[in-house]
Amino acid sequence: MDKTESVISVGIDIGTTTTQLVFSRLTLQSSGGYGITPKTVVSDKEILRRSHIYFTPLTGSDTIDAQGVRRIIEQEYAAAGFRPEMIDTGAVIITGESLRKSNSRSVCEEISSIAGDFVVTSAGPDLESVLAGKGAGCMELSEQPENLGKICCNLDIGGGTTNIACFRGGETISVGCLDIGGRLIRLDSSGRIIYISDKLRKLAERSGIMLETGSVLGTETAEQVCRIMCEVLESAVGLAPPNETVGYMATNHSIDVLPELFTFSGGVADCISSEHENFEFGDLGVILGRTLRRSKFFREGRVISAAETMRATVIGAGNCSIELSGSTIEYRNCVFPIKSVPVLRQRLSCAADISGFAERARRSIENCGALGAGNHIALSFAGLKNPSFDEIEQLAAEISSVSDIAGDPLMIVVEEDMAKVLGQALKRRIPRSEPLICIDGIACGDGDFIDIGEPVSGGRVIPAVVKTLIFR
């Protein structure tokens, strides 16, 4: 028994340098059969349209031109033939240094209103790293049977940052971000430095290289600077001895594992394999790419070409952010989607945790202050591996006693396979008119936000997007 349906997903990436969109069709396949519990998975991801790559419009050094971005998006939707209401899911992310622009949050909100009701907003270097790694095909690489157990690492080298994500067996095991990129120095047509990032200037200074805006950057100096950046990357992934420059150049933190296989994505990845003039793009990208090709990554590591380079992040955002719940879940009287629900993680992983659940949940709800935008919170916990009926009844009693303050609808997100039985028990305890969502198979932690989409697969499965980082 093979049933498939498809959803349209959009990814929008507003990066330091570029803004791009990707429209995809995700095929959801439900398999099951005589006596087999049905299971729904994303079986195919087809990219319907890759947008042009636009320079991110800025109105000043510190502000994104929201109207400009809006125009790009409207134009691309029209070109792709999609209206916002036709989009089922997706993600807008503001990445790299753009995230640090003063109006990024309001830009995000503005875009969300025109991009589609299902589109979510999120950002943060760790999430970007994961999305880029997924979009570059590195996560899938780690799932390949012959790579079982190997740590696969994607380095997404963009204009301002290098997002690093490490996967093993299809799971993200470590992420990091360094302030290394192709556009940390920008040149005018005569080769004069018109911009240099502070951090890079100081890093170069340590090696005795003085860089100032207004001065001409020679090829030799550029190569020296790129070698320095390369060495930081080599140290970060364990190809070179640990070096304190890694910590210095970290956007937030670096990775803490030793990868075996590497993929490269981002704009600079394109400069690794193809030949360009040294300063063709008015930045360090070309030379950085060439330096990487001669680096320890290629000499000592094993590099596998990425499925996507330039568009890895946006494809990751559009294709890979969605998770599907288990196929035995319970919900009623809800209007979907429900976006950006703050997650409150509760302790519940064994029967002994049941008593006192209500009290602990009440305290954490009260401590978290305001509920999410739509008066929402989601209570999340690990759950019980093999609960008895009595345990389910007790837990449902505990949960329903905080339903008055747990927002509307009452949302439970649990990892273990128990959502339907718990949901049914909750239904019996709260008034019939009150909405409820109880889903399993999705892990999320305290402080995460979750978007819950329209049920798919005949209503049996709920797609969700867990956003593990928020605006700082």
């Binding site: 093979d2 398999s31 059969g33 087999i36 049977p145 012959e146 079982l148």
Partner: protein, 453 residues
């Protein structure tokens, strides 16, 4: 035609050849369930006696299912080598048994002659043989088939690597696959029984098996044992396929209950000659098992051993690369205990080889039978001695998807070492190159699934 005899001071009269064949069968719970078994040991002996005096012609002219009603009967009858049949038609089944066991009859002679025997004739001979007769006769017969490698022949004892997983998870499949390869298993085929019988899932697993076969340059063949129509759809959409599998049975009605037909099998073979990634010319893989007809009420009051033999009559029409009985899978209502399973396996391997097939055996049992792993230890050794072409290799013999037990990766190697047998030559050389086998023994590297990286 004489269907009567006197024995133990009693007269036994049978009403049909079919009844004689059924009652001459060694005890099987399935024949009791079907209501066709001899009611006593005395009646069984009488039936054997009568059977021994029936001729090849009489058995041919009394097929278990009428020619007009059944495509399996038609294939068996129409495929007969009439020259051979004419030579042997006057021989009794007892005389035929004697001839097959005699020093005069060589493998070539028997296999040439057997082209003139219907499946009922071959089944009849088996019923007159003791277990050692079956082993001795089967071990005489040298049968070959070729796909990417040549299976069969003296001194070769191959294994199918069966890397089943409860949900066809590719990583889980790979674990068992690498584990089995690291014990030099899989020379017959790398063949998975899927939990999910869909084109997508079949394609995914075929690709995995194909990638592993090509990446590590393993001289073998691959197969996903989903329904034949699923495999055909996958192959037509470009999935790599070496062997096309189907479970078969001994009557048209039983084939229908498996959702297949003689025509479909023919179409599949034709398709394989065009689409297979393997060399051929033998592209098919069939599984059988006593009582599959009874379980779908399509046995036509025939005993299960005779119906099983008819499967081989059908199979030989398609010159398969692999055929094996899944002997103990059906449950205690058909084969009650280890003793019945061992008997059935011997009958099946003898009858299969008599049909010119490279016969293998899934030496197996379910947990509701009166059997345990010791019975399989016995059976695999018996099978190797009987010249059975291949057996199954699973992680410690436990199938975590189909929930039954078969033989383990270790077991085929143990039997090879004891009896001086070898994997298929090219595969053995590959295993030596990989450092898994040395002088016919496992090395210290063997059993380490991490060597495939």
């Amino acid at each position: 035609m004489n269907l009567k005899c006197t024995l133990y001071n009693k007269t036994f009269a049978f009403s049909s050849v079919k009844e004689v064949l059924a009652k001459a069968n060694e005890p099987k719970s399935g024949d009791v369930l079907a209501g066709v078994a001899a009611v006593s040991a005395e009646e069984r002996m009488a039936a054997k006696l009568v059977l021994s005096e029936l001729t090849v012609k009489e058995l041919r002219e009394n097929p278990s299912v009428p020619y007009e009603e059944d495509e399996v009967t038609r294939i068996i009858q129409d495929d007969l080598d009439m020259e051979q049949y004419e030579k042997f038609k006057g021989m009794t089944i007892g005389e035929l048994r004697d001839w097959i066991l005699s020093y005069d009859a060589t493998s070539e002679m028997i296999l040439a002659a057997s082209k003139g025997f219907t499946s009922e004739v071959i089944a009849g001979v088996a019923k007159l043989m003791g277990n050692l007769d079956l082993m001795y006769a089967a071990s005489k017969l040298e049968v070959h088939a070729h796909c990417n490698t040549t299976i069969g022949g003296r001194g070769v004892f191959a294994s199918r690597l069966q890397p089943n997983h409860p949900t066809d998870d590719l990583r889980g499949v790979t674990s068992s696959l690498f584990e089995g390869l690291s014990y030099a298993c899989g020379d017959a085929v790398l063949g998975l029984n899927p939990a999910i019988d869909t084109v997508n899932s079949t394609t995914d697993v075929l690709k995995l098996l194909y990638d592993v076969r090509t990446k590590y340059e393993i001289p073998t063949q691959i197969c996903v044992l989903s329904h034949i129509s699923t495999q055909m759809k996958a192959a037509q959409a470009g999935a790599p396929i070496d062997l096309c599998f189907q479970s078969i049975a001994g009557s048209e009605k039983a084939l229908r209950s498996f959702g297949t037909s003689a025509e479909m099998l023919g179409d599949a073979l034709q398709m394989m000659t065009e689409l297979a990634k393997s060399q051929g010319p033998d592209y098919m893989y069939f599984e059988t098992g006593q009582a599959s007809e009874l379980s779908s009420s399509s046995h036509f009051d025939t005993d299960q051993q005779t119906m099983e033999s008819r499967c081989y009559g059908l199979a030989r029409h398609y010159h398969p690369f692999l055929v094996n009985t899944v002997v103990g899978f059906m449950g205690p209502e058909y084969l009650y205990d280890g003793k019945q399973v061992i008997r059935a396996a011997l009958e099946d391997v003898f009858c299969g080889k008599m049909h010119g097939l490279p016969m293998g055996c899934d030496c197996c049992y379910t947990n509701h039978m009166q059997a345990d792993q010791n019975d399989m230890d016995n059976l695999i050794t018996i099978m190797a001695a009987a010249g059975c072409t291949y057996v199954m290799g699973l992680p410690q013999g436990d199938d975590v998807m189909l929930m039954y037990q078969s033989t383990g990766f270790h077991d085929s190697q143990t039997v090879r070492e004891m009896l001086g047998l070898h994997p298929i030559r090219e595969f053995e050389q590959w295993a030596e190159k990989m450092g898994i086998l040395s002088n016919g023994r496992l090395t210290s590297r063997a059993g380490d699934l991490t060597i495939f990286r």
